[in-house]
Amino acid sequence: MLKINNLHVAVDDGQKPILTGLSLEVPKGEVHAIMGPNGAGKSTLSYVLTGRDGYDVTDGTVTLDGKDLLDMEPEERAAAGVFLSFQYPLEIPGVPTMTFLKTALNAQRKARGEEEMKAPEFLKKARALAKELKMKPEMLKRPLNVGFSGGEKKRMEIFQMMMLEPNFIVMDETDSGLDVDALRIVADGVNKLRSPDRGMLIITHYQRLLDYIVPDRVHVLAKGGIAASGDAEFAKKLENEGYDAYAA
């Protein structure tokens, strides 16, 4: 269970408050969506959960299964099972995709005191998943995300997610840059990862993605906190009525 309690976050050396008392609980096995107007702090929330520099937590707590996330380095949070699907995945020139992913997977395993995954097992798993996500096999040999289209990069995020099998997933605007076919493939991948042991937080501006990944709860992020919550139908209402009612 992810528990966020009274979270206050500021940027610009603490000068500019973005989140001002956000509280949220995502129990294991549930998928929650965060919607909201641009600039409400949706991406800020994803970066604070994953430990990016430049976001000052001035108050509040965040725990995953009882462990204090805010006290951990980004790589420790990853090893604890937090995965962020980036809105804009980075290009890593010179580092082949498979090398990157194998290094990441084994670094996580090592941090958890588990045995490293051997190359043959890793390759077998990667090839099977790539096929499932309809990715060209040569994509895995190329430097990570270099020269990939927007849609290919998003598919690569899902591929990494399926390889790493995290226990809490944050998806930041995963639908942006995807056409309908790619969206369906990505959503199928995500839906396969739904499990009683895994929570998900889907951050999105549009309701479209939620037709494919149906959430258990939908929250509106506005004015620095959760302004309203509802079920999957609530997302459709928001799409029709807009966020004006919740804006500052």
Partner: protein, 351 residues
Amino acid sequence: MTHMPLSLKTLPNRRDEAWKWSDVSRAVSNDVQGADTSAPVQIFVPEGVTVTRTDAAATAANDTSLVKLASQYAGQVWNIVVPDGFSSENPIQIEGLTNGHAQISLSLGKGASVQLVEHYDGQAGAFVNSHLNVKLAEDALLDRVIVQTDPDDCVRISTTHVTAWAKSELRQHTLAFGGKLSRLETRMAGMGEGVKATINGAYLLDGARHCDMTSYIDLACPDGHIRQSVKGVTADKSRGVFQGKFHVRRPAQHTDARMRHDCIMLSDTSEIRSKPELEIYADDVVCEHGNTIGALDESALFYMRQRGIPLAQARAMLTEAFLASVFDTLEDEVMRESLLEKLRAWLEATV
């Protein structure tokens, strides 16, 4: 030959334009080991290549003071001769060069092809000054690899003159870790049509190490093809210097010459000095230079850490990926892998 004591006045200092960032006279004291002695030299050659020793040739008036010093103190010249049409799986290896002065001449006959591997691993506190004079006859190919692993209190000057005749080719890959002061200088004269050169190098510096990669490519004939990529990383209080010049003379039409110097500063107390230059008199040429200095991409580092890769490992991976491309053009895979191993070991210990 008169043996005058090495005079600090003879050594270039920062008032010499070509040495303004590599002040040799400041780095060397009169009593440094090797100041006025000849260097031990070991040369291993494949069968068919000959090595002889002859008296030193007269130096030219326009030689640098260090080349003159090498001629004065090296004693005899080592002459390596590779006959016409020669080729071998085995390289020429130059070892030794641990302190003192050396003069070596290497001549490749028409159509000859050979690999030259030089390992610079000097003695602690020593001064090493070597001059290599290379002649490439028509269609000759020299595949040169330099690995410099001097201790941090060693001063090393390595000057190479290459005279390249028609359709000959120099492929040079250097991996350097600097020293108290090191200058690896390559001066090439393209004297025939269709000369090709790849002059790539990587320097990795920590502590207070200094490495200077200087090159001067002088093209006098048409259809020259030059590719140069030097990359560096500087940590702690180290200092990297790159000076590159392409001099394209009026007859050197259709020259295609590209120079790049890119580096990453791993600390804000390190220093990088760079002077790329083009001097062009021919009007139908493609010449360019590029120079970048930056830091590791923070966003890329965060991305890698978010996937579970610890910070130090992420930094090492990004730095290796950045540097490794200068060795992509090295065809000898075993050699390339051994250079990358050294590079990785440094990154593991430093980054």
